[in-house]
């Protein structure tokens, strides 16, 4: 998938325009957010449950190397094969090679973000193996060649008429219709055939349990379960941070994931697999291969501060509540992930130099942090990345590659910090700036300003600087009261 994180500002502007043209775009995250509220209300103490989720994720990450080894050992004991991939390319190439060796003509896929991240579909197609997405939303965006608009609802922005035309042209639909049930049925008929004849399935996973070697998937459409059980060979792709210590931990994260994601107490399908089909069992894959992808995570793990970003369980609650995401939608973020979770994760995966706008385009409103079931403090992480742009002398700045700030800004803050601890200098600075600032003001209001602050004045006014600051008025005030 093409990375366009550096075009954030331009793409965000387009996103705002699109949302203005189709107000329904803003409704979807709000609808999911309301479902979440109702879902959390079914817990006796939602705040405690969320805090427990944060503790589980935090602990799991602090023991990551040990847990991964334990998981590998137990998964192998269950009969699974484990492949460690350092990079996205290594993971994709391994899966392609395996598919070729198994003689697969096509691959059936369950919805997964990690296979988007490693660019698996592109790699399979290049080698003549057709990937078929089994999730309705992914199926639609795959045919449209669009990136996911939302991490759990990838095609939520696509107009139903577009889907109708697409299915008529590409999915053997007989009669044109915009009825969602009919459209769903058409996709189902088309994909059912692919599932039946599947030799090779690829899915992601939500949790890997270290103590049992079990992999767990949550979903609502059944495509993942199908892709995990129907083919002869099944590949489950996971990133390092998916591992959890115990089944008890996994069950708690499951309660939180369903509720925070869609407001459900439990998703329609939950599949737990401990190894491939065993002797005497009637179904399941003959071969289960677990691909564990690093793709930059072990580097993130080295930094105890940045590590927090890896706690994410991909519930998308932060997208749905984010006031910026609601205005611009998912495309502006420029790669696989979007919303606050994308803003804190993608800079670490792609490098700060390519993603600076992502962690600066935030008002630090803290809504994301307030809903996160993994206890991620997104605003603080973004402040941390911003500081790495400025202080190139911190080791972490080398690790993640900060991008230098404009020299004018650096100079401004240098002068600012000199004055901030000397009030006489601060106040004389104010007296000097006042006439410049108020030059174009009228009746105490500034209506336009060119140059560095023009962004503000496109649609907003600003009060003129007061003739007397509070500081200057203080002596008089004291006498009045």
């Amino acid at each position: 998938m093409r990375v366009s994180t550096e075009q954030f500002t331009e793409l965000a502007g387009q996103g705002v325009e699109k949302a203005r043209a189709r107000p329904s775009l803003k409704m979807v995250p709000h609808f999911l957010y309301q479902k979440r509220e109702a879902g959390l209300a079914t817990l006796p103490d939602a705040a405690a449950a969320q805090a427990c989720g944060a503790a589980i994720r935090s602990e799991a990450l602090s023991r990551l190397p040990d847990l991964l080894e334990e998981f590998e050992k137990n998964a192998i004991a269950n009969g699974a094969k484990v492949f460690w991939a350092r990079t996205a390319e290594e993971a994709s190439e391994y899966i392609v090679k395996l598919a070729k060796e198994r003689g697969a003509k096509y691959v059936i896929k369950g919805k997964s973000m990690v296979t988007e991240e490693i660019g698996l579909n592109g790699c399979l197609s290049e080698h003549g193996i057709e990937p078929w997405e089994g999730d309705l939303g992914e199926f639609i965006i795959q045919m449209l060649r669009c990136p996911p608009f939302h991490i759990i609802a990838p095609a939520i922005n696509i107009a139903v008429e577009t889907i109708r035309d697409l299915f008529m042209a590409r999915a053997d639909m007989k009669e044109p219709t915009v009825d969602p049930v009919e459209l769903g049925w058409a996709a189902r008929l088309f994909l059912r055939e692919k599932f039946h004849r599947a030799e090779f399935g690829v899915t992601g996973l939500n949790m890997a349990v270290a103590e049992t070697g079990t992999i767990i998937n949550l979903e609502n459409e059944g495509n993942i379960r199908f892709a995990k059980s129907s083919p002869r060979t099944q590949v489950s792709v996971m990133t390092l941070e998916k591992v959890l210590p115990t089944m008890k931990d996994a069950l708690h994260v499951m309660r939180l994931l369903s509720r925070n994601c869609s407001g459900q107490k439990i998703s329609a399908y939950v599949s737990m697999d401990s190894g491939p089909k065993k002797d005497g069992e009637i179904d399941g894959p003959e071969e289960l291969v677990i691909v564990i992808v690093d793709n930059g995570r072990s580097r993130i793990y080295q930094d105890p501060r940045a590590r927090e970003a890896l706690r994410c369980i991909r519930c998308a609650a932060c997208l749905n509540i984010c006031p910026v995401y609601r205005q611009i939608g998912g495309y502006a973020y420029g790669w696989v992930y979007s919303g606050p979770m994308g803003q804190v994760l993608m800079p670490l995966l792609l490098g700060l130099d390519k993603t600076q706008e992502l962690y600066r385009a935030c008002t630090l409103c803290g809504a994301c942090k307030s809903v996160c079931p993994a206890g991620i403090d997104h605003p603080s992480l973004m402040l941390y990345y911003r500081s790495l742009d400025v202080s190139a002398d911190i080791p972490a700045a080398h690790r993640f590659g900060g991008k230098k700030r404009p020299w004018k800004e650096a100079l401004f803050f240098k002068a600012w910090s000199t004055a901030v601890e000397r009030f006489w200098m601060w106040n004389s600075g104010i007296s000097m700036v006042r006439p410049l600032m108020n030059r174009g003001s009228h009746r105490g209001v500034i209506r336009r300003m060119k140059g560095a602050f023009s962004g503000w004045f496109r649609k907003r006014d600003f009060p003129a600087m007061a003739k007397e600051t509070f500081h200057e008025r203080w002596e008089k005030i004291r006498n009045i009261w």
């Binding site: 240098k414 601890e421 496109r458 907003r460 006014d461 509070f470």
Partner: protein
Amino acid sequence: MKEVSMFIPCTVDLFLPHIGEAMVSLLQRAGANPVYHRGQTCCGQPALNSGYRKEAKKAAKHFIELFGNDEAVVAPSGSCVGMVKHHYPELLGDEPDWFRRAAELAPRVYELSQYLVDVLRVSDVGAIFQGKVAYHESCHVLRGLGVSTQPKALISAVKGTKLVSMDQDDFCCGFGGEFANHHPDISEAMVQDKVRNYLDSGADLLILCEPGCLLNIGGYLSRHHPEKRVMHLASFLAQAGREER
């Protein structure tokens, strides 16, 4: 009389000094004795938010030197209070002596409505205003400090005032300091939504406790809906009080 040290945010000092004056009047009416350290400058938020930690640290140390011995420090801003309460200890975490001073100061710093209601136990300041009022839950007041019931109690106690509900009252208005200037497309869309919700609420007046939101929402109203008003809680309570007298 309880002595309370006023911390005037630089936005208030430079552009909205009437909020500072209103705070003086309110504190006095509530039975406190407000004092003002003339050496105060800025809490350092702009530097921290732009990534300039070293520079923000200087502001933090200056602030702690100045306010460190005060029994109570009060500011008419959630984000500036949050900066001192939450970010100073984090910012100074690698300097044990400064960290201790920051951590000791933190619990003594209050947002204005929080200080009036929780510490002075005053919710009725004796003000009168005939009309409907909506309240904007500023991010750093609500999520940063957990302050929400206090300003609402103060508004509800004003005679003749009806506090009406506003859709998405806890959504960010799109200010975010630098953000508003650097990402005008997104910021304008956010403030437009905020103003739409204000207009739809049927309120005569929008009240808030954060100077940043006031500049943003007020700046948009001034351009597009000059007949509609937004006010800081302190100005509202002080003005409604004066009208009574």
